[in-house]
Amino acid sequence: MKTVFSILMMSLGITAMAQGYKVGSKVKDFTLKNIDGNMMSLENGREAKGAIVVFTCNHCPFAKAYEQRIIDLNEKYAPLGYPVIAINPNDPEAVPEDSFEEMQTRAAEKGYTFPYLIDETQDVAKEFGATRTPHTFVLQLEKGKYVVKYIGAIDNNAESAEKANDKYVEKAVDALLNGKKVETTEVKAIGCTIKWKKG
């Protein structure tokens, strides 16, 4: 009985995970706490043309491997209207290294120039359908609403920035900046599971 129940719960869990934004989805506004202590909303950035939302964290080796590339994306695209918004979706009780204080330390050490928000209730991660870190969503502002244009990997080589020769996020943002359609709209990538709160 217990095992049947667990399997049932597992399948429900899997169904729940399958929800989230698709390419073309309109993004619900969210307000999360930034490392500077202030609350920040997606729809704050009205001068922006869009945003590069990255679910990322401190501890995950894949997130670490992409950290500099995330910083570089912001440097390149914030001035063009597509700033990076980093969101840590992990439960700090599961991973103390992903606590708010650790986020502040890391951002200071690396000189983050973009918001690094903490998704305390994990509702934003669930809304987006983020499953791992890093997990990137490129959004474009259309008539006052943010619309998802690309979901997934930053490029085709997690381990080495030098070996990455297919830069999906850059291609997507470049296309949007040039008024073109995004050709590759979804690329899956390996990453650490999001550490969901228990119970």
């Binding site: 399997i7 381990e159 070996k163 390996i190």
Partner: protein, 168 residues
């Protein structure tokens, strides 16, 4: 006596290697090809040494192998560790006394292999694929408790025996 000591000293690293059961680094589709040549159930677990939930469930997979090896069930591990870290995989397993067949996914850093694993796979590990006589019969993303894993496999095995009955 001295000769024996030298022989033992030379043998020791070899013995270590044998216990560590070398982890071959292969592109994912080559690993899949190997699985497709196997008879019976192959449970292929995707993991990485740095992935905490992955490591937490390895003992359950070891237990699965221990209890079902005689019944034609194999448990294989495929690590998604970075290529620069792949030499850590075998010692990691050996030091924890895991004996499951172990591979390293040479193209793990690439993005193509994820779709090859399963269209439903989001890329978050751990994940487990199950093959019967070389054909994929199940995919599960996420960690298993011991009970969940055993129930999952038991379910797949009982499904098979029903099929066999039907074919008569």
């Amino acid at each position: 006596m001295k000769k024996w000591i030298i022989v033992c000293m030379l043998m020791f690293p070899l013995l270590q290697q044998a216990g560590a059961q070398r982890t071959e680094s292969l592109p994912f589709d080559v690993i899949l090809k190997k699985v497709s040549a196997e008879k019976g159930l192959v449970v292929l677990n995707l993991w990485a040494t740095w992935c905490r939930p992955c490591v937490a469930e390895l003992p359950h997979f070891q237990k699965l192998q221990d209890s079902l090896a005689g019944a034609g069930v194999q448990v294989w591990l495929a690590s998604a560790d970075f290529s620069s870290q792949q030499q850590n995989v075998a010692p990691f397993l050996a030091s924890r006394e895991f004996t499951m067949q172990s591979f390293h996914i040479a193209d793990a850093g690439d993005s193509g292999w994820i779709e090859k694993a399963d269209p439903a796979f989001s890329g978050a590990i751990p994940a487990t694929l199950v093959f019967k006589d070389g054909v994929k019969v199940a995919f599960h993303e996420g960690a298993f408790t011991r009970d969940e894993l055993f129930a999952f496999i038991a379910n797949l095995r009982s499904r098979d025996s029903h099929k066999e009955h039907k074919s008569h």
